[in-house]
């Protein structure tokens, strides 16, 4: 018979809920311990015989040529910027979605306006060719 410990505190503003976030902290520490522990354990038993040829970056055998951190295409920057913009849009959608039943018609129309304006930006970016990767 396992003890069912239902632990759910009301989250009205004003009451503090350290307990949930405490367990999050505990699991993060645990995960970090696993990572560090695995590496630390390895350090003890692992052979260490580094010599120059072994420490060269791996180029499937032949010696590395050219400067590894060369200037990459601006496409990655554009993708990052679009991600920032669309993710902030998603952030605005989350609270609306959660409180959707309470908002009724007005909430729906308001958010459709928000999504509509965003779609125009989306079409603009699409037509300007930011999405096709040559």
């Amino acid at each position: 018979m396992h003890v069912v410990f239902v632990y759910k505190t009301t989250t009205m503003p004003g009451t503090y809920i350290p307990s949930d976030y405490l367990s999050v902290a505990v699991i993060i520490i645990f995960a970090a311990l696993i990572g560090l522990g695995a590496i630390a354990a390895g350090l003890l038993v692992r052979p260490r015989r580094p010599y120059a040829r072994k420490l060269m970056p791996y180029e499937s055998g032949n010696p590395p040529v050219g400067e590894p951190r060369y200037r990459f295409s601006v496409k990655f920057y554009i993708v990052a910027m679009l991600f920032v913009v669309f993710d902030v849009e998603a952030v605005f959608l989350y609270p609306w979605a959660v409180a959707y039943d309470k908002l009724g018609i007005f909430g729906f129309v308001e958010m459709m306006l928000f999504i509509f304006i965003l779609l125009i930006g989306y079409i603009y970016v699409w037509k300007k060719g930011a999405f096709n990767w040559e």
């Binding site: 309470k102 009724g104 007005f106 909430g107 304006i117 125009i120 930006g121 079409i123 603009y124 300007k128």
Partner: protein, 483 residues
Amino acid sequence: MEMETTISLLDIRPIIPELTLICVGLILILLDLIVKKKEIVAVVGIAGTLVALFGTYKLYGFYEPQVAFGGMFVLDGYANFFKLIFFLNIILTICISMKYMKIEKASFGEYYSLLMFSTTGMMIMASAADLIVLYLGLELMALSTYILVGLMRKKPRSNEAAIKYFFLGAFSSAFLLYGISLTYGLTGTTSLSGIAESLNALNIIGSPITYLGLIFMIVAFGFKIALVPFHMWAPDVYEGAPTSITAFMSVGPKAAGFAVLGRVLFDAFPAMQGQWASILIPMAVLTMAAGSIIALAQTNIKRMLAYSSIAHAGYMLLGIIAGTHEGLTSMVNYLMIYLFMNIGAFAIVIMLRREGFQGEDLEDYMGLSKSHPLASFLMLIFMFSLAGIPPTAGFIGKFYVFMEVINAGYVYLAIIAVVFSVISAFFYLRIVMYMYMKDPKQEVTLTTSPTMSIALAITAMMILIFGIFPSILLNLVRYSILG
């Protein structure tokens, strides 16, 4: 807890002008993707602005102030008059920039939609009665103006101007936010009238924290209006940006900054008039001084006009320092006149610009009267008005501002202002002297376009009309603000 928010459709009516402008901006974005000739985009832009202008003045019909979104957005005479300034500003800017953008080989469709969004931001700022709406309007305007400044990607000057403007603008908006958070923390609300009430209720009128919050906000608005301690960015950005954007930027964001400064100081901190006046007085004096004196040493006309617009910000600040509603009306009256003379002067600078000839050094204006008498005569009117010489409207603007400052008891300020406007008259008239007394150094051909001549005609005519019959503008301003 069941929070049923039923915001009736009636609330949407006051923001119809802003909504139309945003829709026009969005249409322009889509239009720019389809149409190849950018003039169509510009023409549609002007048509849309006129529709929004009509919308504002249809709502303006009834007199008592309209409140929307639970007191966050107020539509009163003060806001509507500023919206008139912003509409004129964007229409004149589009007129003077159509041909100019082709010469600069930067004729992008986005240029016009960004102008639309920037103007919407200014309109939201003008009618914001809540610090949140005010911050949003300010950011909308600022972000679109950053891109407009840096539009000519190929030219290093425009890039550098955009970097300087962006970093100082972002810095000042962080200051504004810190001011807002302090004021919110103290008074518990962000609505301007709410702040005034809770300041009296908690009788923390003179307390250092309120003062600190107010200082942070004044610092932020000081950046936007380019008052002296925070004006470093203005000359570089005005010189680097495309000239039509410099014209737009020297009027639009500055007027919006004054609208917001007036509303925050008069609605949220009315009881602290003594404190904020004591901050603004040294800033106004330093602004007038720096604007007039440094302009003397300038060789580039855009940089000279930048310093002159800093000086004019100093004169306008006197209207707010007076602390009375008449002071506000004189400032708004000065702003409207400043709009016409500033855009007119920049329009002439744009006319000189053509392929391979910058037309920005003072020497380029030598002997302009011999080759182009009409253009030099228009420039003469604008320079007289900027200097404040009687027949033109510039004199009227300055006169009323100084009158209000004297009525409010700051007589020494008026004297200092007159001294500096006399000093400033020197570098305005130097250009007139270059045009008329000197003989031309090299052959100068002007690039004129139909819309440019319309814009020049409007601005020159307005300056002369308001100069000779000042009562027209003054009564309109008094009717809208004092009611």
